[in-house]
Amino acid sequence: MKVKVLSRNPDDYVRETKLDIQRVPRNYDPSLHPFEVSREYTRALNATKLERVFAKPFLASLDGHRDGVNCLAKHSTSLSTLLSGSCDGEVKVWNLTKHECVRTLQAHEGFVRGIIVRYCGTSFFTVGDDKTIKQWKMEAPGYGEEEEPLNTILGKTVFTGLDHHQKKGVFATCGQQVDIWDEQRSSPIRSFTWGVDSFSSVRFNPVETDLLGSCASDRSIVLYDMRESTPLKKVIMTMRTNTLCWNPMEAYYFTCANEDYNLYTYDMRFLEKPIKVHMDHVSAVLDVDYSPTGQEFVSASFDKTIRIFSKDGGHSREVYHTKRMQHVICIKWSADNKYILSGSDEMNIRLWKANAAEKLGVLSPRERQATNYNQKLKEKFQHHPQIRRIARHRHLPKSIFHQRNELRVMKEARQRKERNVRKHSKPGSAPVVSEREKNVVAVVK
């Protein structure tokens, strides 16, 4: 007779001393783990619920400006530094980790229209309503020294926007026309005009660094190549575009914030129709900024909310609002992809988390593993109705909620009318126009 009976030595399964961690022998045999799917589903549901519980995006409010914040600029080399310009011509430099203002300077008379940090991070440029471009040192002046700009350029007309080249000492301003300036010279090296219009913003492409885009008040978006003497092309839309932002990862794509409550992502090669229309705002969109990963962007709107969109999602994944925040004028996504900064009408700059439920600070390896696991589960079961309902739920201020419903009703009515017209007209005479094509009037080359 040969016999063997299971006989475990407890020493192999119990920790030796109290200082050890517990031994956890594993056996991954699926038959020992029944109801795999249902249990994972339950975990995903719990993770989704916890995400909503921990979704506290608001971090801090930086107050100190004495008028509405009109423009923001990220520091190009320091994560903790932020520059802001207000409507009374004041520029403030902030330390974000300490939530305090480290420097204040009266840069302009009237609005500060644009502010940008040079790519090296040692100086910054401002433009204002007083028709001047000023270059400032990043360091505060020493004790007893006057706060004076490094350079001042007197322009002929008012400047409304400003952007700096990624690698060269060249910057662009916009106003009556788009000007390209060399830092060493006091007159523009190149000026672009196309019709008689004023431009509201200009942005350099961060990848193809010689390209720029600008938004004009004649409802057009104009693209330029800095090396050529004439603009490349422009697209005219039904409503005015306020700003645009290039995707930092995909050189062809840019997203523009429009007055018609929507954002449009274009491929610069095919301007006939946008790649995506991003809807959800209930008022004009004033500013937009991409995340450094190029996967998402954040938009600021006149409806007092901030929304985060994925680059190919038609609707926002997140909406931020507070009772005290008024019209949000400018928005920036921080360079570490973790924070969002918004400047609004009521003189405050607000610091938000880019991921509302993310835990800040150093995570222990187990914590990180758990969050990664939960993230994956949420992704896996995201289409289940129960989970989707919880994940999508956002509280909205009453006014915005009602406005959204109203807009929906209006849209439905328009669609219904279109349908009826099509039904009662000659086949082909009332073609179906997609939402993307609707808002493009013409492309000019």
Binding site: K2, V3, L6, V24, R26, Y28, D29
Partner: protein
Amino acid sequence: MASPVEPSVNVSHVEKKKKPPARYWQEQQDEEKHKNKDEEQTEEAVQQDEEKQTRKTKKRKQIDDLTNENKVISGKTDPFPGPASISKDRMQKFKRKEKTQKPHMRHYKLKDIITRAEEASEMAQKQAARFDLLLPEEAGFLEGDEDEDTCMISQEDIADAVDITSGAKYFNLKLTQFGPYRVDYNKTGRHLLLGGRRGHVACVDWQTKQLMCEINVMESVNDVKWLHSENMYAVAQKKWLYIYDSNGIELHCIRQFNDVLRMQFLPYHFLLATASATSFLQYLDVSVGKEVAAICTKTGRLDVMCQNPHNAIIHLGHPNGTVTLWSPNQKEALVKMLCHQGGVRSVVVDKTGTYMVTSGMDKKLKVFDIRAFKPLKSYFLPAGASCLSLSQRGLLSAATGDIVQVYRDVWSAPVSKPYMAHRVRGTVWGLHFCPFEDVLGVGHGEGFTSMLIPGAGEPNFDGLDANPYRNAKQRQEWEVKALLEKIQPELISLDPTELGQVDRATFEEKHQDRVQALGFDPLATEKFVPRFKKKGRSSAGGVERRKKQVAHMDQRDVIRKTVEDKVKMEEERKRMEEKKAALSGQKSALDRFRK
């Protein structure tokens, strides 16, 4: 020996026996001789498959290997290049589902997602299969010498032959006063619960033989069941259902549950399912203390019950020979099977949810494939089995009167004689295999017997699921985790993986949506209304026929038009392609900014 789908069924215990670690003075060739040829073949097959799948990567690897070979300082080459091979059956063990069909080229994003997910799951499958080698314990076995029948080997002989701690697992408790006993082991297999017909309830840490509590409820006891942990157990008494804690203190008396005869606990759902003499099947959620469902089965006294551990469906046996399957979500039985000609005496389902074994008054023991609802095997037992129990590795124990017989491989091969047999003192009342141990607990008229059944228990437990060696702190942690991932009773269904499958809209649903969007039903056929016919006019049928002809003419026109359109489109496409081909030759770098 193993659970039915487990692929290692063919491999006998002897080959799996641990060898002493190889020493350098032993000849290597000696070892190679012992290698199983079959295994080698399967391994080769797997390797070939892998090669086919990733020919490209393999090529790259080979190049790497070549360069690596040059780099080895000693000049030796690696005798086992590449990752270690995994046998096919082991891979099969961890396989969850077949590969999904890739969507059409147009959905390139979805296709990419699916490809990535499948790659990840395949990697996980491989890693799990590799990890299988590292499992520390091996299953028990019992083999007779030549001409020796294993069923003739007595428990005393086995207990003498094995080590002391294992030998101590064979014992008898002589409890003649309050007999016959019902038995239950908890999920980790550490604790034993005994319920005497005449009111004696005891719970024991049976390995250390420590008595946790012993009470007499002064009432008849129909069944006893551990709840999720060893802290609480349920006792079905003469009238009501009671819940006690491990110190024997009565925690609850649940009057909603009366005349309970049998109970089953669903550990992942925290549900206690009870079957009563009044033919009610009730579910109690023990985490919140609420009755989840009460189903009137209308089939008389329910004293045969078991659960399917794979999908948490309750099986009930009835005096008319049927077995019915129940979920808490439906008032009617999911399935009714006629299994026996007489009444059903006992039902049991294996842990993978593949096989159901029943015994009936017709003295038959039948094996069913419960996924296809088909009979597989039928055995005749001269005395008929009153109690059945299945072990984790698929051993079946059947009690006939006062004899307990254990069978091996009842569903795969025709069985002629039992694997083991043992006679206890009284009539057997309850049988339960102890999880993760080679032990069978038998409750009978004269007390309790713990038998040694080599090869019954799963050798390697999972520490996060059921850890027999856990301490109080670990148990508390586990309890919190388990409660957090409690599965809702609504998710109980015949196929537990249904939740992970794509819910495709049926044709009817799609059609309904279409009707709602259009405002009319495009597929509806007009009803034939016979016309009021006047004399001399053409017949209603004739009119209908002519109408149809006209309709067909219209349809033909439409078809002709679409065909013409298609031809035109094709031509257009060809022309465009030619144009493109012609243009593609002359392209400058700046063209990408131009349209």
